[in-house]
Amino acid sequence: MIQTLFNGVVTGLLVALPALALALTFSVLRFANFAIGAMLTAGAYIVYAFNAGLGWQLLPSAIAGTVLGGLLAVAIDALVYRRLRDRTGVTLLVASMGVAFVLENAVRFIAGNAPVGYEVDPARPLRVAGLRINHEQLLIAAISLAALLAIWILLRWTPLGRAMRAVADNPSLAAARGIAGNRVIAITWFISGALATAAGTLIGLDATLDPQMGWNYVIQVFAAAILGGIAHPIAAVFGALALGIIAELSTLILPPHYRPLVAFAVLTGLLLVRPWGIFGTARIAK
Protein backbone atom coordinates (compact mmCIF):
# COMPACT_ATOMS: atom_id res chain seq x y z
CA MET A 1 0.00 0.00 0.00
CA ILE A 2 2.71 2.47 1.05
CA GLN A 3 4.81 1.31 -1.89
CA THR A 4 1.88 1.91 -4.26
CA LEU A 5 1.33 5.36 -2.80
CA PHE A 6 5.01 6.18 -3.18
CA ASN A 7 5.04 5.00 -6.80
CA GLY A 8 1.95 7.11 -7.43
CA VAL A 9 3.62 10.21 -6.02
CA VAL A 10 6.70 9.68 -8.18
CA THR A 11 4.64 9.06 -11.31
CA GLY A 12 2.67 12.18 -10.47
CA LEU A 13 5.80 14.28 -10.02
CA LEU A 14 7.10 13.03 -13.36
CA VAL A 15 3.92 14.11 -15.13
CA ALA A 16 3.87 17.34 -13.11
CA LEU A 17 6.85 18.83 -14.99
CA PRO A 18 5.31 18.78 -18.49
CA ALA A 19 1.88 19.55 -16.99
CA LEU A 20 3.40 22.66 -15.47
CA ALA A 21 5.01 23.53 -18.82
CA LEU A 22 1.65 23.10 -20.53
CA ALA A 23 -0.25 25.16 -17.97
CA LEU A 24 2.40 27.89 -18.08
CA THR A 25 2.12 28.44 -21.83
CA PHE A 26 -1.65 28.05 -21.61
CA SER A 27 -2.01 30.69 -18.95
CA VAL A 28 0.18 33.22 -20.75
CA LEU A 29 -0.78 32.48 -24.36
CA ARG A 30 -4.32 31.07 -24.03
CA PHE A 31 -3.80 28.01 -26.14
CA ALA A 32 -3.25 24.33 -25.43
CA ASN A 33 0.17 23.37 -26.71
CA PHE A 34 -0.38 19.96 -28.20
CA ALA A 35 3.32 19.74 -29.05
CA ILE A 36 4.20 19.31 -25.38
CA GLY A 37 4.78 15.58 -25.92
CA ALA A 38 7.01 16.15 -28.93
CA MET A 39 8.96 18.84 -27.04
CA LEU A 40 9.54 16.27 -24.32
CA THR A 41 10.77 13.74 -26.90
CA ALA A 42 12.99 16.27 -28.68
CA GLY A 43 14.45 17.39 -25.34
CA ALA A 44 15.21 13.83 -24.27
CA TYR A 45 16.99 13.23 -27.57
CA ILE A 46 18.99 16.46 -27.36
CA VAL A 47 20.30 15.26 -24.00
CA TYR A 48 20.96 11.87 -25.60
CA ALA A 49 22.99 13.58 -28.34
CA PHE A 50 25.29 15.12 -25.74
CA ASN A 51 25.39 11.94 -23.65
CA ALA A 52 25.88 9.22 -26.28
CA GLY A 53 26.94 11.35 -29.27
CA LEU A 54 29.58 13.51 -27.62
CA GLY A 55 30.28 11.14 -24.75
CA TRP A 56 29.51 13.67 -22.01
CA GLN A 57 28.45 12.58 -18.54
CA LEU A 58 24.70 12.58 -18.01
CA LEU A 59 24.59 15.61 -15.69
CA PRO A 60 26.36 18.08 -18.02
CA SER A 61 24.41 16.59 -20.92
CA ALA A 62 21.16 17.19 -19.08
CA ILE A 63 22.08 20.77 -18.23
CA ALA A 64 23.19 21.58 -21.79
CA GLY A 65 20.15 19.78 -23.19
CA THR A 66 17.75 21.66 -20.92
CA VAL A 67 19.12 25.00 -22.07
CA LEU A 68 19.01 23.89 -25.70
CA GLY A 69 15.47 22.50 -25.25
CA GLY A 70 14.40 25.88 -23.90
CA LEU A 71 16.00 27.66 -26.85
CA LEU A 72 14.31 25.25 -29.25
CA ALA A 73 10.93 26.24 -27.80
CA VAL A 74 11.82 29.94 -28.19
CA ALA A 75 12.80 29.30 -31.82
CA ILE A 76 9.54 27.45 -32.51
CA ASP A 77 7.64 30.38 -31.04
CA ALA A 78 9.48 32.88 -33.25
CA LEU A 79 9.02 30.69 -36.31
CA VAL A 80 5.41 29.57 -35.85
CA TYR A 81 3.34 30.89 -32.96
CA ARG A 82 4.42 34.54 -33.03
CA ARG A 83 3.05 34.85 -36.56
CA LEU A 84 -0.28 33.48 -35.36
CA ARG A 85 -0.43 35.49 -32.14
CA ASP A 86 -3.71 37.24 -32.97
CA ARG A 87 -5.48 34.07 -34.05
CA THR A 88 -7.82 32.03 -31.89
CA GLY A 89 -6.71 29.33 -29.47
CA VAL A 90 -8.02 26.67 -31.86
CA THR A 91 -5.80 27.88 -34.74
CA LEU A 92 -2.80 27.80 -32.43
CA LEU A 93 -3.75 24.35 -31.12
CA VAL A 94 -3.81 23.03 -34.68
CA ALA A 95 -0.51 24.74 -35.44
CA SER A 96 0.99 23.05 -32.38
CA MET A 97 -0.15 19.67 -33.74
CA GLY A 98 1.84 20.47 -36.87
CA VAL A 99 4.83 21.39 -34.74
CA ALA A 100 4.44 18.06 -32.89
CA PHE A 101 4.62 16.08 -36.15
CA VAL A 102 7.61 18.03 -37.41
CA LEU A 103 9.53 17.62 -34.13
CA GLU A 104 8.74 13.93 -33.77
CA ASN A 105 9.75 13.13 -37.32
CA ALA A 106 12.88 15.25 -37.12
CA VAL A 107 13.87 13.10 -34.14
CA ARG A 108 13.01 9.95 -36.09
CA PHE A 109 15.00 11.18 -39.10
CA ILE A 110 18.14 11.97 -37.11
CA ALA A 111 18.14 9.29 -34.41
CA GLY A 112 16.20 6.45 -36.03
CA ASN A 113 13.21 4.45 -34.85
CA ALA A 114 14.87 2.01 -32.50
CA PRO A 115 14.67 2.64 -28.76
CA VAL A 116 17.90 3.92 -27.21
CA GLY A 117 19.02 4.58 -23.66
CA TYR A 118 21.31 6.96 -21.79
CA GLU A 119 24.74 5.74 -20.83
CA VAL A 120 24.50 5.43 -17.07
CA ASP A 121 25.72 2.79 -14.68
CA PRO A 122 22.91 0.64 -13.34
CA ALA A 123 22.46 0.84 -9.58
CA ARG A 124 20.73 -1.40 -7.07
CA PRO A 125 17.49 0.00 -5.61
CA LEU A 126 17.59 1.30 -2.05
CA ARG A 127 15.49 -0.18 0.72
CA VAL A 128 14.17 2.34 3.20
CA ALA A 129 11.70 1.25 5.89
CA GLY A 130 10.36 -1.51 3.70
CA LEU A 131 10.09 0.73 0.63
CA ARG A 132 11.86 -0.19 -2.58
CA ILE A 133 13.22 3.05 -4.02
CA ASN A 134 15.04 3.34 -7.35
CA HIS A 135 17.75 5.92 -7.81
CA GLU A 136 15.73 7.17 -10.77
CA GLN A 137 12.73 7.67 -8.53
CA LEU A 138 14.78 9.72 -6.10
CA LEU A 139 16.14 11.78 -8.96
CA ILE A 140 12.66 12.30 -10.40
CA ALA A 141 11.31 13.43 -7.03
CA ALA A 142 14.23 15.74 -6.30
CA ILE A 143 14.38 17.42 -9.71
CA SER A 144 10.63 17.76 -10.04
CA LEU A 145 10.22 19.28 -6.60
CA ALA A 146 13.13 21.69 -7.16
CA ALA A 147 11.75 22.80 -10.53
CA LEU A 148 8.24 23.23 -9.17
CA LEU A 149 9.49 25.25 -6.23
CA ALA A 150 11.57 27.46 -8.52
CA ILE A 151 8.61 28.13 -10.83
CA TRP A 152 6.33 28.83 -7.90
CA ILE A 153 8.77 31.39 -6.49
CA LEU A 154 9.22 32.91 -9.94
CA LEU A 155 5.50 33.33 -10.55
CA ARG A 156 4.53 34.44 -7.06
CA TRP A 157 7.36 36.64 -5.91
CA THR A 158 9.37 38.08 -8.78
CA PRO A 159 8.70 41.02 -11.12
CA LEU A 160 9.17 38.66 -14.08
CA GLY A 161 6.45 36.37 -12.74
CA ARG A 162 4.18 39.36 -12.23
CA ALA A 163 4.86 40.47 -15.81
CA MET A 164 4.01 36.95 -17.03
CA ARG A 165 0.73 37.00 -15.14
CA ALA A 166 0.02 40.49 -16.48
CA VAL A 167 0.57 39.42 -20.10
CA ALA A 168 -1.68 36.41 -19.41
CA ASP A 169 -4.43 38.69 -18.11
CA ASN A 170 -4.39 41.55 -20.62
CA PRO A 171 -1.60 41.77 -23.22
CA SER A 172 -2.46 45.21 -24.56
CA LEU A 173 -2.67 46.76 -21.09
CA ALA A 174 0.65 45.07 -20.30
CA ALA A 175 2.15 46.83 -23.33
CA ALA A 176 0.74 50.14 -22.10
CA ARG A 177 2.38 49.46 -18.73
CA GLY A 178 5.77 49.20 -20.43
CA ILE A 179 6.04 45.40 -20.46
CA ALA A 180 7.62 44.03 -23.65
CA GLY A 181 5.18 41.21 -24.38
CA ASN A 182 7.33 39.28 -26.84
CA ARG A 183 10.19 39.13 -24.36
CA VAL A 184 7.94 37.80 -21.60
CA ILE A 185 6.45 35.26 -24.01
CA ALA A 186 9.90 34.13 -25.15
CA ILE A 187 10.92 33.59 -21.52
CA THR A 188 7.72 31.62 -20.93
CA TRP A 189 8.57 29.37 -23.88
CA PHE A 190 12.11 28.94 -22.65
CA ILE A 191 10.90 27.75 -19.26
CA SER A 192 8.31 25.50 -20.89
CA GLY A 193 10.90 23.94 -23.22
CA ALA A 194 13.37 23.48 -20.37
CA LEU A 195 10.73 21.77 -18.19
CA ALA A 196 9.71 19.48 -21.07
CA THR A 197 13.36 18.55 -21.64
CA ALA A 198 13.90 17.82 -17.95
CA ALA A 199 10.81 15.60 -17.97
CA GLY A 200 11.95 13.85 -21.16
CA THR A 201 15.34 13.16 -19.63
CA LEU A 202 13.83 11.73 -16.44
CA ILE A 203 11.45 9.53 -18.44
CA GLY A 204 14.35 8.36 -20.61
CA LEU A 205 16.31 7.55 -17.47
CA ASP A 206 13.43 5.55 -16.02
CA ALA A 207 12.83 3.61 -19.24
CA THR A 208 14.12 4.10 -22.79
CA LEU A 209 14.00 6.81 -25.45
CA ASP A 210 12.01 6.37 -28.62
CA PRO A 211 10.43 8.90 -31.00
CA GLN A 212 6.97 8.03 -29.66
CA MET A 213 7.81 8.50 -25.99
CA GLY A 214 6.19 11.93 -25.72
CA TRP A 215 2.97 10.74 -27.28
CA ASN A 216 2.42 8.30 -24.44
CA TYR A 217 2.42 11.21 -22.03
CA VAL A 218 0.39 13.82 -23.92
CA ILE A 219 -2.99 12.62 -22.68
CA GLN A 220 -1.81 12.22 -19.09
CA VAL A 221 -0.21 15.66 -19.15
CA PHE A 222 -3.38 17.27 -20.45
CA ALA A 223 -5.46 15.34 -17.93
CA ALA A 224 -3.23 16.46 -15.06
CA ALA A 225 -3.23 20.09 -16.16
CA ILE A 226 -7.00 20.15 -16.57
CA LEU A 227 -7.53 18.30 -13.31
CA GLY A 228 -5.57 20.89 -11.40
CA GLY A 229 -6.88 23.91 -13.29
CA ILE A 230 -5.08 24.55 -16.55
CA ALA A 231 -4.95 28.33 -16.18
CA HIS A 232 -3.16 28.06 -12.84
CA PRO A 233 0.28 26.57 -13.42
CA ILE A 234 0.95 25.43 -9.86
CA ALA A 235 -2.46 23.78 -9.58
CA ALA A 236 -1.44 21.56 -12.50
CA VAL A 237 1.16 20.03 -10.19
CA PHE A 238 -1.48 18.95 -7.71
CA GLY A 239 -3.53 17.63 -10.60
CA ALA A 240 -0.60 15.50 -11.69
CA LEU A 241 -0.03 14.20 -8.17
CA ALA A 242 -3.71 13.37 -7.69
CA LEU A 243 -3.82 11.61 -11.05
CA GLY A 244 -0.67 9.61 -10.30
CA ILE A 245 -1.85 8.49 -6.87
CA ILE A 246 -5.39 7.62 -7.98
CA ALA A 247 -4.08 5.64 -10.94
CA GLU A 248 -1.62 3.67 -8.79
CA LEU A 249 -4.12 3.05 -6.00
CA SER A 250 -6.61 1.65 -8.49
CA THR A 251 -4.21 -1.21 -9.16
CA LEU A 252 -5.01 -2.53 -5.70
CA ILE A 253 -8.52 -3.46 -6.84
CA LEU A 254 -8.30 -3.42 -10.66
CA PRO A 255 -5.87 -5.02 -13.11
CA PRO A 256 -2.95 -2.60 -13.75
CA HIS A 257 -3.78 -1.96 -17.39
CA TYR A 258 -6.99 -0.21 -16.29
CA ARG A 259 -4.96 2.60 -14.75
CA PRO A 260 -5.60 5.15 -17.52
CA LEU A 261 -9.31 4.30 -17.44
CA VAL A 262 -9.55 5.17 -13.76
CA ALA A 263 -7.70 8.43 -14.31
CA PHE A 264 -10.06 9.42 -17.08
CA ALA A 265 -13.14 8.47 -15.10
CA VAL A 266 -11.94 10.86 -12.39
CA LEU A 267 -11.16 13.54 -14.97
CA THR A 268 -14.56 13.20 -16.65
CA GLY A 269 -16.37 13.38 -13.34
CA LEU A 270 -14.41 16.43 -12.32
CA LEU A 271 -15.01 18.27 -15.58
CA LEU A 272 -18.73 17.82 -15.02
CA VAL A 273 -18.60 19.20 -11.49
CA ARG A 274 -15.71 21.68 -11.43
CA PRO A 275 -14.63 22.53 -15.00
CA TRP A 276 -12.01 24.96 -13.75
CA GLY A 277 -10.16 22.20 -11.88
CA ILE A 278 -9.81 21.17 -8.24
CA PHE A 279 -7.55 23.97 -7.15
CA GLY A 280 -8.29 26.47 -9.88
CA THR A 281 -10.75 29.28 -9.53
CA ALA A 282 -12.86 30.57 -12.37
CA ARG A 283 -10.85 33.37 -13.95
CA ILE A 284 -12.22 36.88 -13.91
CA ALA A 285 -12.67 37.70 -17.55
CA LYS A 286 -13.78 41.32 -17.32
Binding site: T158, P159, R162, A163, R165, A166, A168, D169, N170, S172, L173, A174, A175, A176, R177, G178, I179, A180, G181, R283, I284, A285, K286
Partner: protein
Protein backbone atom coordinates in the same frame (compact mmCIF):
# COMPACT_ATOMS: atom_id res chain seq x y z
CA UNK B 1 8.60 65.61 -14.01
CA UNK B 2 6.30 66.88 -16.71
CA UNK B 3 6.62 67.22 -20.47
CA UNK B 4 4.77 68.77 -23.37
CA UNK B 5 2.91 66.58 -25.83
CA UNK B 6 2.60 67.68 -29.43
CA UNK B 7 0.51 66.03 -32.14
CA UNK B 8 1.23 67.23 -35.66
CA UNK B 9 -1.12 66.18 -38.47
CA UNK B 10 -1.81 62.72 -37.10
CA UNK B 11 -3.87 60.17 -39.06
CA UNK B 12 -4.58 56.62 -37.96
CA UNK B 13 -7.17 53.89 -38.36
CA UNK B 14 -7.93 50.20 -38.58
CA UNK B 15 -7.20 47.84 -41.47
CA UNK B 16 -6.00 50.67 -43.71
CA UNK B 17 -9.22 52.67 -43.15
CA UNK B 18 -8.39 55.99 -41.54
CA UNK B 19 -10.56 56.99 -38.57
CA UNK B 20 -8.81 60.18 -37.51
CA UNK B 21 -7.52 62.64 -40.07
CA UNK B 22 -4.80 65.23 -39.73
CA UNK B 23 -5.25 65.93 -36.01
CA UNK B 24 -2.92 68.53 -34.55
CA UNK B 25 -2.86 69.62 -30.96
CA UNK B 26 -0.35 70.97 -28.57
CA UNK B 27 -0.39 70.47 -24.81
CA UNK B 28 2.25 72.46 -22.93
CA UNK B 29 4.07 70.80 -20.03
CA UNK B 30 1.68 70.65 -17.07
CA UNK B 31 -1.29 71.58 -19.24
CA UNK B 32 -4.54 69.66 -19.57
CA UNK B 33 -6.63 69.08 -22.68
CA UNK B 34 -10.00 67.34 -22.85
CA UNK B 35 -11.19 65.99 -26.17
CA UNK B 36 -14.95 65.87 -26.56
CA UNK B 37 -17.13 64.81 -29.45
CA UNK B 38 -20.03 62.55 -30.45
CA UNK B 39 -19.88 58.76 -30.40
CA UNK B 40 -17.78 57.31 -33.19
CA UNK B 41 -15.88 60.54 -33.77
CA UNK B 42 -12.57 58.75 -33.22
CA UNK B 43 -11.71 59.91 -29.72
CA UNK B 44 -10.52 56.53 -28.43
CA UNK B 45 -8.71 55.88 -31.70
CA UNK B 46 -6.85 59.16 -31.24
CA UNK B 47 -5.68 58.11 -27.75
CA UNK B 48 -4.65 54.65 -28.94
CA UNK B 49 -2.57 56.26 -31.67
CA UNK B 50 -0.96 58.57 -29.10
CA UNK B 51 0.00 55.76 -26.70
CA UNK B 52 1.20 53.47 -29.48
CA UNK B 53 -1.44 50.73 -29.50
CA UNK B 54 -2.33 51.78 -33.05
CA UNK B 55 0.31 52.77 -35.61
CA UNK B 56 0.24 56.28 -37.11
CA UNK B 57 -0.41 56.29 -40.84
CA UNK B 58 0.95 59.83 -41.05
CA UNK B 59 1.91 62.78 -38.90
CA UNK B 60 4.34 63.15 -36.05
CA UNK B 61 4.19 62.93 -32.30
CA UNK B 62 6.59 64.59 -29.88
CA UNK B 63 6.97 64.06 -26.14
CA UNK B 64 9.01 67.00 -24.87
CA UNK B 65 11.73 67.38 -27.46
CA UNK B 66 11.75 63.74 -28.50
CA UNK B 67 9.93 62.30 -31.52
CA UNK B 68 8.08 59.19 -30.34
CA UNK B 69 5.80 58.43 -33.31
CA UNK B 70 7.89 55.50 -34.50
CA UNK B 71 8.13 53.76 -31.09
CA UNK B 72 5.94 50.90 -29.85
CA UNK B 73 3.69 51.19 -26.80
CA UNK B 74 6.14 49.82 -24.17
CA UNK B 75 8.85 52.22 -25.35
CA UNK B 76 6.53 55.24 -25.28
CA UNK B 77 5.47 54.17 -21.78
CA UNK B 78 9.09 54.05 -20.63
CA UNK B 79 9.63 57.53 -22.06
CA UNK B 80 6.85 58.91 -19.87
CA UNK B 81 3.39 58.23 -21.31
CA UNK B 82 0.87 56.82 -18.84
CA UNK B 83 -2.37 55.42 -20.26
CA UNK B 84 -5.65 54.42 -18.62
CA UNK B 85 -7.95 52.71 -21.12
CA UNK B 86 -11.71 52.97 -20.77
CA UNK B 87 -12.31 49.25 -20.33
CA UNK B 88 -10.09 46.38 -19.31
CA UNK B 89 -7.86 48.87 -17.54
CA UNK B 90 -6.69 46.61 -14.71
CA UNK B 91 -5.30 43.09 -14.61
CA UNK B 92 -8.41 41.46 -13.10
CA UNK B 93 -6.78 38.29 -11.72
CA UNK B 94 -3.91 40.15 -10.08
CA UNK B 95 -4.23 41.83 -6.72
CA UNK B 96 -4.53 45.60 -6.60
CA UNK B 97 -1.03 45.71 -5.12
CA UNK B 98 0.38 43.64 -8.00
CA UNK B 99 -1.38 45.97 -10.44
CA UNK B 100 0.34 48.94 -8.80
CA UNK B 101 3.74 47.22 -8.66
CA UNK B 102 3.48 46.39 -12.36
CA UNK B 103 3.05 50.08 -13.11
CA UNK B 104 6.38 50.77 -11.42
CA UNK B 105 8.27 47.72 -12.70
CA UNK B 106 7.32 48.09 -16.35
CA UNK B 107 9.06 51.46 -16.45
CA UNK B 108 11.61 51.56 -13.65
CA UNK B 109 12.56 47.90 -13.51
CA UNK B 110 12.82 46.04 -10.24
CA UNK B 111 15.88 47.91 -8.97
CA UNK B 112 15.23 51.03 -6.99
CA UNK B 113 16.57 54.18 -8.56
CA UNK B 114 16.24 57.55 -6.85
CA UNK B 115 12.77 57.55 -5.42
CA UNK B 116 11.92 54.02 -4.35
CA UNK B 117 8.89 51.99 -5.31
CA UNK B 118 7.71 52.11 -1.71
CA UNK B 119 7.72 55.92 -1.61
CA UNK B 120 5.93 56.13 -4.93
CA UNK B 121 3.35 53.62 -3.69
CA UNK B 122 2.73 55.72 -0.58
CA UNK B 123 2.40 58.89 -2.68
CA UNK B 124 -0.09 57.25 -5.05
CA UNK B 125 -2.13 55.71 -2.24
CA UNK B 126 -2.30 59.11 -0.58
CA UNK B 127 -4.02 60.33 -3.76
CA UNK B 128 -6.39 57.34 -3.79
CA UNK B 129 -7.09 56.38 -0.17
CA UNK B 130 -10.15 54.39 -1.35
CA UNK B 131 -8.00 51.55 -2.67
CA UNK B 132 -5.42 51.52 0.12
CA UNK B 133 -7.53 49.10 2.16
CA UNK B 134 -8.11 46.77 -0.79
CA UNK B 135 -4.54 46.05 -1.87
CA UNK B 136 -4.91 42.25 -1.52
CA UNK B 137 -8.19 42.07 -3.45
CA UNK B 138 -8.09 40.82 -7.06
CA UNK B 139 -8.56 43.99 -9.10
CA UNK B 140 -11.37 42.35 -11.07
CA UNK B 141 -13.52 42.25 -7.94
CA UNK B 142 -13.39 46.00 -7.27
CA UNK B 143 -16.46 48.18 -7.81
CA UNK B 144 -16.53 50.37 -10.92
CA UNK B 145 -15.32 53.52 -9.18
CA UNK B 146 -12.57 51.75 -7.25
CA UNK B 147 -11.47 49.95 -10.38
CA UNK B 148 -11.05 53.28 -12.21
CA UNK B 149 -9.03 54.59 -9.28
CA UNK B 150 -6.87 51.45 -9.21
CA UNK B 151 -6.28 51.82 -12.95
CA UNK B 152 -5.31 55.45 -12.59
CA UNK B 153 -3.12 54.69 -9.58
CA UNK B 154 -1.33 51.96 -11.55
CA UNK B 155 -0.63 54.41 -14.37
CA UNK B 156 0.65 56.97 -11.85
CA UNK B 157 3.02 54.36 -10.40
CA UNK B 158 4.90 54.76 -13.69
CA UNK B 159 5.60 58.38 -12.71
CA UNK B 160 4.43 59.48 -16.15
CA UNK B 161 5.10 62.96 -17.47
CA UNK B 162 1.92 62.78 -19.56
CA UNK B 163 -1.20 60.96 -18.40
CA UNK B 164 -3.68 59.84 -21.07
CA UNK B 165 -7.21 59.03 -19.85
CA UNK B 166 -9.91 57.37 -21.94
CA UNK B 167 -13.40 58.26 -20.63
CA UNK B 168 -12.66 57.97 -16.93
CA UNK B 169 -16.32 58.50 -15.96
CA UNK B 170 -17.69 55.74 -18.22
CA UNK B 171 -20.01 53.41 -16.35
CA UNK B 172 -19.77 55.31 -13.06
CA UNK B 173 -22.68 56.68 -11.06
CA UNK B 174 -22.85 60.51 -11.12
CA UNK B 175 -21.62 60.59 -7.53
CA UNK B 176 -18.63 58.32 -8.23
CA UNK B 177 -17.88 60.23 -11.42
CA UNK B 178 -17.61 63.56 -9.62
CA UNK B 179 -15.53 61.91 -6.87
CA UNK B 180 -13.19 60.55 -9.53
CA UNK B 181 -12.87 63.97 -11.16
CA UNK B 182 -11.94 65.50 -7.83
CA UNK B 183 -9.12 62.95 -7.78
CA UNK B 184 -8.16 63.85 -11.35
CA UNK B 185 -7.95 67.49 -10.29
CA UNK B 186 -5.64 66.38 -7.43
CA UNK B 187 -3.53 64.43 -9.92
CA UNK B 188 -3.26 67.53 -12.11
CA UNK B 189 -1.90 69.48 -9.18
CA UNK B 190 1.06 67.08 -9.06
CA UNK B 191 2.11 68.75 -12.33
CA UNK B 192 1.53 65.89 -14.76
CA UNK B 193 0.40 66.83 -18.28
CA UNK B 194 -3.10 65.53 -19.00
CA UNK B 195 -4.76 64.40 -22.22
CA UNK B 196 -8.25 63.05 -21.71
CA UNK B 197 -11.38 62.21 -23.63
CA UNK B 198 -14.70 62.39 -21.84
CA UNK B 199 -18.36 61.85 -22.67
CA UNK B 200 -19.43 63.97 -19.74
CA UNK B 201 -18.55 67.30 -21.33
CA UNK B 202 -19.06 69.42 -18.22
CA UNK B 203 -16.99 67.19 -15.91
CA UNK B 204 -14.31 66.73 -18.54
CA UNK B 205 -13.87 70.42 -19.24
CA UNK B 206 -13.81 71.55 -15.60
CA UNK B 207 -10.40 69.93 -14.99
CA UNK B 208 -8.91 71.06 -18.33
CA UNK B 209 -7.30 74.25 -19.66
CA UNK B 210 -8.31 73.56 -23.22
CA UNK B 211 -11.07 71.68 -24.94
CA UNK B 212 -10.92 70.07 -28.36
CA UNK B 213 -14.05 69.12 -30.29
CA UNK B 214 -13.41 66.08 -32.46
CA UNK B 215 -16.05 65.28 -35.07
CA UNK B 216 -15.73 62.63 -37.74
CA UNK B 217 -12.06 62.14 -36.92
CA UNK B 218 -11.20 65.82 -37.44
CA UNK B 219 -10.67 68.71 -35.06
CA UNK B 220 -13.71 70.94 -35.42
CA UNK B 221 -12.92 73.43 -32.70
CA UNK B 222 -10.19 74.01 -30.18
CA UNK B 223 -10.26 76.72 -27.52
CA UNK B 224 -10.15 77.37 -23.82
CA UNK B 225 -12.16 74.95 -21.69
CA UNK B 226 -13.98 77.83 -19.99
CA UNK B 227 -15.15 79.28 -23.28
CA UNK B 228 -16.39 75.88 -24.46
CA UNK B 229 -18.15 75.31 -21.14
CA UNK B 230 -19.95 78.62 -21.47
CA UNK B 231 -20.90 77.96 -25.07
CA UNK B 232 -24.65 77.36 -25.12
CA UNK B 233 -24.46 75.93 -28.56
CA UNK B 234 -22.30 72.84 -28.10
CA UNK B 235 -24.75 70.65 -30.05
CA UNK B 236 -24.11 72.87 -33.07
CA UNK B 237 -20.39 72.29 -32.63
CA UNK B 238 -20.89 68.56 -32.32
CA UNK B 239 -22.99 68.29 -35.43
CA UNK B 240 -21.60 71.09 -37.55
CA UNK B 241 -22.94 74.23 -39.20
CA UNK B 242 -24.81 72.70 -42.11
CA UNK B 243 -26.96 70.70 -39.86
CA UNK B 244 -28.44 68.10 -42.21
CA UNK B 245 -25.23 67.27 -44.06
CA UNK B 246 -23.17 66.87 -40.96
CA UNK B 247 -25.78 64.79 -39.24
CA UNK B 248 -25.51 62.40 -42.15
CA UNK B 249 -21.78 62.43 -41.82
CA UNK B 250 -22.03 61.81 -38.10
CA UNK B 251 -24.43 58.93 -38.68
CA UNK B 252 -22.06 57.60 -41.28
CA UNK B 253 -19.21 57.78 -38.84
CA UNK B 254 -21.22 55.88 -36.26
CA UNK B 255 -22.14 53.03 -38.56
CA UNK B 256 -18.93 52.65 -40.50
CA UNK B 257 -16.16 54.02 -38.45
CA UNK B 258 -17.23 53.06 -34.97
CA UNK B 259 -14.28 51.64 -33.16
CA UNK B 260 -14.29 49.68 -29.97
CA UNK B 261 -14.52 52.55 -27.50
Amino acid sequence: MTQALQLEGISAGYHGKPIIHDVSLNIPAGGAVTVIGPNGSGKSTLLKAVVGLLPLSSGSLALGTRQIGAFDAPTRTRLGLGYVPQEHNVFPNLSVLDNLKLGWEGVHGSRPRGLSQREQLDAVLALFPEIASRLRTPAGLLSGGQRQMAAMAAALMQRPSVLVLDEPSAGLSPRNASLLFERIADVRRTGVTLLMIEQNVRLGLTVADHGVVLVNGQVRDQRSARSLLEDDDLPRLFFGHERSESLDAAADATTHATTPA
